[in-house]
Amino acid sequence: MKKIDPSEITPEHLYLSRREFIKGLGIVTASAAVLAACNGKLPEEYAKQLGASTPTIGAPPVPPGSTTDELGDPLNSYEDITSYNNYYEFTTDKLEVAELAKDFITSPWEVKVGGLVKEPKTYSIDDLRNFEIEERIYRLRCVEAWSMVIPWMGFPLHKLLEEVEPKSNAKYVRFETAYDPDQMPGIEKYPWYNWPYVEGLRLDEAMNDLAILATGIYGKDLLPQNGAPVRLAVPWKYGFKSIKSIVKIDLVEDMPKSLWMTAAPREYGFYANVNPEVNHPRWSQATERRIGELGRRDTLMFNGYEEEVAYLYEGMNLRANI
């Protein structure tokens, strides 16, 4: 049987959704033009403008309660999602995280948002749940070449950033995970990692509507192994960018250095966009195993979110900026 490349098939609902997308395209182009005009700087006016116009752009057009992603692929089960986790603060064994993290205290919880902002603010987890929570069905592609489809509950990160009003010199967003050796055995077990876990996004990436702060899965509050009580979900990047159990969000001028950039500078860069063309130095990223399937599927550019995010990297060398 001749193999048909999945990218050659356009499912009907996706085809229809593209029409919707084209309608939104004008706004995206306009935003991109503003970005270009700002010459890389992102003044708060721009952030506001982008914020005001983004809510409908880019969000994958999957109606809430769907049982598939927008490509027609089924959701992974709650069981799969909550029992197969990379969370090195607990253990490097994916199957053991759930057990080791089950008593992790996630309430009360505070997220301090500060740095180069006009209105620094500390959010309790309840404050965060007061944002309008929506369901987002995203593919999660791990750098280890496996993937899942996950129905997150959350809200766009830009909504939070708009509240704190980034200053004009803010260019990046720096995220930090809780650091609690008493509750997280991995911190002392693996002292060679530069704890706490840190990740970052460029401000325009953070403002993209696909980037969400997730507080739940399948309509339930997040469990500790999935990054409770609040974590990032940036589906066009490898999974490790979607930092878990966030306690700090800072707007900064210089590119934050993530834990993985420190641990293996030759292997992990700042961007970590899913890209089948650019291999990890030690393994191919061309294919992935969808958890629950036999065989492998071809990995999609930007994990299948090319239409929503490609503009962010226009003119950038994606081989150099891994």
């Binding site: 193999k3 992974n76 069981e79 799969d80 029992s83 197969y84 090195y88 490097t92 994916k94 199957l95 280890e144 496996w146 693996y190 060679w192 990692y193 641990a263 293996a264 292997e267 291999n279 030690r282 393994w283 191919s284 061309a286 294919t287 195993r289 958890i291 629950g292 036999l294 065989g295 492998r296």
Partner: protein, 208 residues
């Protein structure tokens, strides 16, 4: 008489021990105990078992030369053959389940994943060793048999490199195997062998 029982019990122990990972693995597979990614789990388990058995097989010769533990030589062959068995299962899962016979993807994986090509090389070295492991081949090949079977060290080294290259930065388990292999290799160097057996003789004299 006691010696016979002891020797037999080590051999029996080897044969039983070598099947346990497979039996447990199959049990866990049918019980659904392998987690959401049973393909990865079975690949890891069979790979680790193959490596462990290969190292044990390599350890038998120094156990005899240094500690006069002759019985160890009796299990060198089965340990090596069982290692090859697990390596074969490991490879079969890679081809048939992980990549589901998608040869285009397999070729890509072999050329783009350096750990895969190194692992394949280790397996290809073990293949002739397993074939010529019988007494008949040992007789027919005479001196060459020993020369050929020294390549087990090369297979061990490639298997350890395979493991080192596939884990993330900060995972040290394969480096423990690298240490074990280095030690086994050192113990085979004539100079080291002389000193080590001398030491072990003196120690045994003290305890006698």
């Amino acid at each position: 008489m006691i010696g016979t029982i002891k020797r037999n019990s080590l051999q029996i122990l080897t044969h039983i021990g070598a099947w346990i990972p497979l039996v447990v693995g199959l049990w866990d597979l049918f019980q659904g105990n392998l987690g959401p990614d049973p393909i990865r789990e079975t690949t890891l388990r069979t790979g680790k078992t193959a490596l462990t058995l290969l190292m044990l097989s390599l350890a038998t010769t120094p156990l005899n030369t240094l500690f006069k533990f002759k019985q160890a030589l009796k299990v060198r062959r089965p340990l090596g053959v069982y290692s090859f068995m697990y390596a074969s299962i490991h490879f079969a899962i890679f081809i048939g389940v992980d990549y589901f016979f998608n040869f285009e993807q397999i070729v890509d994986a072999l050329f783009e994943k350096r750990y895969a090509i190194v692992g394949l090389s280790a397996g290809l070295i073990l293949l002739p060793l397993a074939i010529t492991s019988t007494k008949g081949w040992q007789r027919r090949m005479k001196k060459n048999w020993k020369r050929l079977h020294r390549f087990a060290y090369a297979a061990g080294a490639l298997a350890v490199i395979h493991y080192i290259w596939l884990v993330k930065q900060g995972v040290w388990e394969p480096w423990i195997w690298a240490g074990v292999l280095s030690l086994l290799f050192l113990l085979r160097l004539p100079q080291v062998k002389r000193v080590a057996s001398d030491v072990s003789r003196r120690v045994s004299l003290v305890f006698r």
